[in-house]
């Protein structure tokens, strides 16, 4: 039986309090918070973070045969975004990497396609939801990513949840849409689509249950995902499952991450489901889809090292609404009087893909000295071309010294900079992110995270930064 062999999620560190939006704009106060992608995150970088968590077990990476990146907010058009994820994950060059970009429904599409595939497939769902200031989409939206690998027993990795059945229903419906380049979606009067979605969801779920030979009472976890809040609530009410099976969504704490929401909700259920339980994932949007999964005995030993609930709990204190607006490009702040940042140059970036995207350093085979970035000549024994690759993305480090650069050009001043000494040798100076000035201190422990450092001249610059190791949020390594 094919099924899920790995999963992981990325909930950004930052939070925006809905009450602060209301206080700023003078609108009625909302409750709770939403997750906010950092100024240095986009759907590509968040996809990398989620996939790194899913692929934390080293044995998984060589097994991945194809990669689909689903997002409604692609970092680039024309150019494939999944290849940046592919490069950051250091997947084999023969692994197909493709975008499923544009529609929120692509998240369901990536999951279903991965589940149906003959080769182990990594589906990464990533989204960054914006709306006009004060609008429902801004307040109810959220940012995040989730990653899933579907494969089979024969590939050596244990199945964590078997795919029992799935079904999709497609329907051309003008319910939510956005012209390319627009910053916010438009939606039709919501009562129109509500009834349609209840019907579509019932069709998909019924078909999947029939295939699996299951009754609705057999569902232990019902997950309903979609941007149409009223329809999702109606589907939960109408699903006919046991009441305790209905899984609450996470929107109060992190908002609705659109394309990534079914992934985040599924990951959250997998974080806590017991073996032998049945999960029904119902996704609304331009139709409906349903996946039925049954957890296995292997799940408890192979859950994600970064549970969704822990990432939610580890979120920052709410950020000022003005900061959120400036990060999303809706509040143009006076920059420091500094030269414009350089865009990446294509040839050197391509020559150094392993370093720039994969954070692969080198280690001298003669004397063992580690070099970040990789060198040809050893700084210690000066041997030439006697270097072995040394992937560094999971290596933790300690801050040797630091500074707070208030002059540097950054979308979120001041720039925090740390000199990191890595466990096992090697040093590198880099930015510290998801942090406050108090986190920059000699002796602080850091882990690495993949980020979009800047966008210059229309080019996104991706590279790695350090972030504080936080209780509940760190990447626990499991090699083997």
């Amino acid at each position: 039986m094919p099924g899920l062999i790995a999963y992981g999620a990325h909930v950004p560190y930052h939070r925006l309090a809905r009450a602060d939006v209301a206080a700023t704009l003078g609108t009625p106060a909302g409750k709770g918070t939403r997750a906010v992608a950092g100024y240095d995150e986009d759907t590509t970088s968040m996809a990398v973070e989620a996939a790194r968590t899913a692929l934390a077990r080293d044995c998984l990476r060589p097994r991945v045969g194809q990669l689909f990146l689903a997002t409604a907010a692609p970092a680039y058009l024309d150019k494939t975004n999944a290849t940046a994820v592919h490069a950051a994950l250091r997947l084999d060059e023969h692994v197909l990497a493709l975008d499923m970009a544009g529609s929120v429904r692509s998240g369901l599409g990536a999951l279903v396609t991965a589940a149906r595939s003959a080769v182990p497939t990594l589906a990464v769902l990533s989204d960054l939801r914006t709306g006009l200031p004060g609008g429902t989409d801004e307040i109810a939206g959220g940012d995040g990513a989730a990653a899933f690998v579907f494969g089979g027993h024969r590939n050596g990795a244990p199945v964590l949840a078997e795919l029992l059945a799935h079904d999709t229903v497609s329907d051309e419906i003008l319910e939510r849409w956005r012209l390319p380049g627009a910053s916010a979606s438009r939606v039709w009067e919501e009562r129109f689509a509500e009834e349609i979605y209840v019907s579509l969801a019932d069709k998909a779920l019924s078909a999947a249950l029939d295939q699996a030979g299951l009754k609705r009472e057999a569902i232990d976890h019902l997950v309903v995902s979609g941007l149409h809040t009223r329809a999702c609530a109606a589907v939960r009410r109408a699903a006919g499952t046991r009441p305790e099976a209905v899984t609450p969504d996470l929107t109060a704490a992190i908002g609705n991450a659109g394309t990534a929401q079914p992934g985040l909700l599924l990951a959250d259920v997998l974080d806590r489901a017991a073996p032998g339980e049945t999960i029904a994932l119902v996704v609304l949007g331009d139709g409906a889809g349903a996946l039925l999964l049954r957890t296995t005995d292997a799940l408890p030993a192979h859950r994600s090292a970064r549970p969704v609930a822990a990432q939610i709990a580890a979120g920052s204190a709410p950020m000022p609404y003005a900061t959120y607006l400036s990060w999303r490009g809706m509040l143009d702040r006076e920059p420091p009087r500094r030269p414009d940042p350089e865009p990446p140059y294509a040839p050197p970036a391509h020559r150094r893909t392993a370093w720039k995207y994969g954070f692969v350093a080198s280690r001298c085979e003669k004397c063992g000295t580690r070099h970040l970035p990789p060198d040809r000549v050893c700084t210690s024994c000066r041997s030439v071309d006697a270097m072995a690759d040394e992937p560094m993305e999971h290596v933790l480090g300690t801050v040797a010294t630091f500074t707070v650069d208030r002059l540097a050009l950054t979308p979120s001043p001041p720039m925090l900079v740390v000199v990191v000494d890595y466990d096992g040798g090697g040093r590198f100076r880099c930015q510290l992110t998801d942090a406050t000035e108090a986190d920059a201190a000699i002796g602080a422990r850091i882990e690495m995270t993949f980020r979009r450092t800047v966008t210059a001249a229309g080019v996104h610059n991706y590279f790695w930064k350090a972030r504080p190791v936080r209780a509940g949020g760190e990447t626990e390594e499991t090699h083997g």
Binding site: Y345, T403, R406, V417, R429
Partner: protein, 402 residues
């Protein structure tokens, strides 16, 4: 393989230095014409008497043409040199070696930089051109040098407040000195509390912990030592020239602790060997050092052997490097108060040595060590930053060894 110094084989017989500062009405060309003119006048020669030129600038011109075109030199050899903030010193070093080799009788070193026209805050032209892939973690110059402060404080047990006091005093001292220098960019004393409470730029560094961004030019004329008195009664003789480009491993190697510049230690040792100096703190009359940022000057006091390891902060607090201290450091105000037009700074430092050793510095900033019979001055100039830098050290003196 060994290096052979050129102690007492060449002399500087003419120098010029423009005021440093915001020269909105003058170009880099204007500034270097002035510095070159003053230098040839002080040597009592004309530009045609100079056989060869070394022209130092980081970003205000490329190739020898940047100088030959400006001066309309008649087919003379002009070499443009660049070594980041040590560019001016590098021009001088090359001119000295050219004369010492016998290749030329009279050589000139010129340095110039025009920073203010960029309209940027801080040094904007100093980023090392890289792959543009952001993988070097590019940071601004003040942030780069501010990395020294927490490391030094942690190693020697200073609290943040004590560390801030020490660097504040360095800035205060250099402003006191600059206030006595008509060529300096900043000519006012600044109260300690104002320095201490200034807006923070990077790490612990406030605006007063940073060298002045300025425009300026300086020039020196070099001849064989035996010819020196044909040009001036008071030449200064080159005792040592030392330069290193480090292996740049401080940002790779966890052994480097950000409380020293090993490149400076190496170049200083070499310079002292060439000059025959065993106790620089007692033998030198003054030192002009590369105080690009206040923590740099603190660390340099130890790297140059003026203070023991972990002791410089006490010596700074005790006034050892003040104008009336046991070894005056940066009596002209340093990069801090005199300003730092990259390509000119190394030659500006030499200009202060020239004035002081010749007794031409204004009385209010003449170092008292000269009256004690000391006759040697040190200039130190570096480029880069903690962990990867180039370092230059020279020793010059007003007397020939017998």
């Amino acid at each position: 393989m060994s290096s052979h110094g050129i102690r007492d084989r060449v002399a500087i017989v003419g120098m010029g230095c423009t005021p440093f500062g915001e020269h909105w009405t003058r170009s880099a060309d204007d500034l270097l014409v002035d510095a070159v003119g003053d230098a040839v006048t002080s040597a009592g020669i004309t530009i045609d008497d100079i056989d060869a030129f070394w022209f130092g600038t980081q970003a205000s011109g490329v190739s020898g043409l940047a100088l030959s075109r400006t001066l309309h030199l008649p087919n003379k050899p002009v070499t443009r040199v660049e070594n980041m903030c040590a560019t001016g010193s590098e021009a001088l070093r090359n001119a000295c070696y050219a004369v010492a080799s016998g290749a030329y009788d009279v050589a000139m070193a010129v340095g110039v930089e025009k920073l203010k026209d960029s309209g940027m805050s801080g040094l904007s032209g100093t980023a090392i051109p890289g792959a543009g892939d952001d993988s070097r973690g590019e940071i601004t110059a003040p942030a780069n040098f501010s990395l020294l402060a927490p490391a030094y404080a942690a190693k020697y047990g200073l609290s943040d407040e004590e560390m801030k006091d020490v660097i504040t005093r360095i800035a205060w001292k250099n402003h006191v000195n600059g206030a006595r220098n008509p060529r300096a960019q900043f000519r006012k004393e600044v109260p300690l509390e104002r320095i201490r409470s200034a807006p923070v730029i990077a790490g612990m560094l406030g605006v007063f912990d940073c060298s002045g961004v300025s425009d300026g030019s300086a020039a020196a004329i070099v001849v064989r030592a035996e010819d020196a008195y044909q040009y001036t009664d008071r030449p200064i003789f080159v005792k040592a020239l030392s330069f290193v480009a480090g292996p740049a491993d401080g940002l790779l190697d966890p052994e480097y602790d950000f409380t020293t510049f090993p490149e400076v230690v190496a170049s200083a040792e070499e310079a002292y060997r060439q000059a025959g100096i065993t106790d620089p703190r007692a033998e030198l009359a003054l030192a002009e050092v590369h105080d690009c940022f206040t923590p740099t000057e603190l660390v340099l006091m130890e790297d140059l052997g003026f203070s023991g390891r972990g002791q410089a902060w006490k010596d700074v607090a005790g006034g050892s490097f003040d104008l009336d201290g046991s070894l005056p450091v940066n009596p002209d105000g340093g990069l801090k108060a005199f300003g730092h037009p990259i390509g000119a700074s190394g030659l500006r430092m030499m200009f202060e040595a020239w004035l002081q050793l010749r007794g031409e510095a204004p009385p209010e900033r003449t170092v008292s060590t000269l009256a004690e019979g000391r006759s040697l001055a040190l200039t130190h100039n570096l480029g880069g930053g903690p962990g990867e830098c180039v370092s230059f050290v020279s020793v010059v003196g007003s007397e020939l060894a017998h």
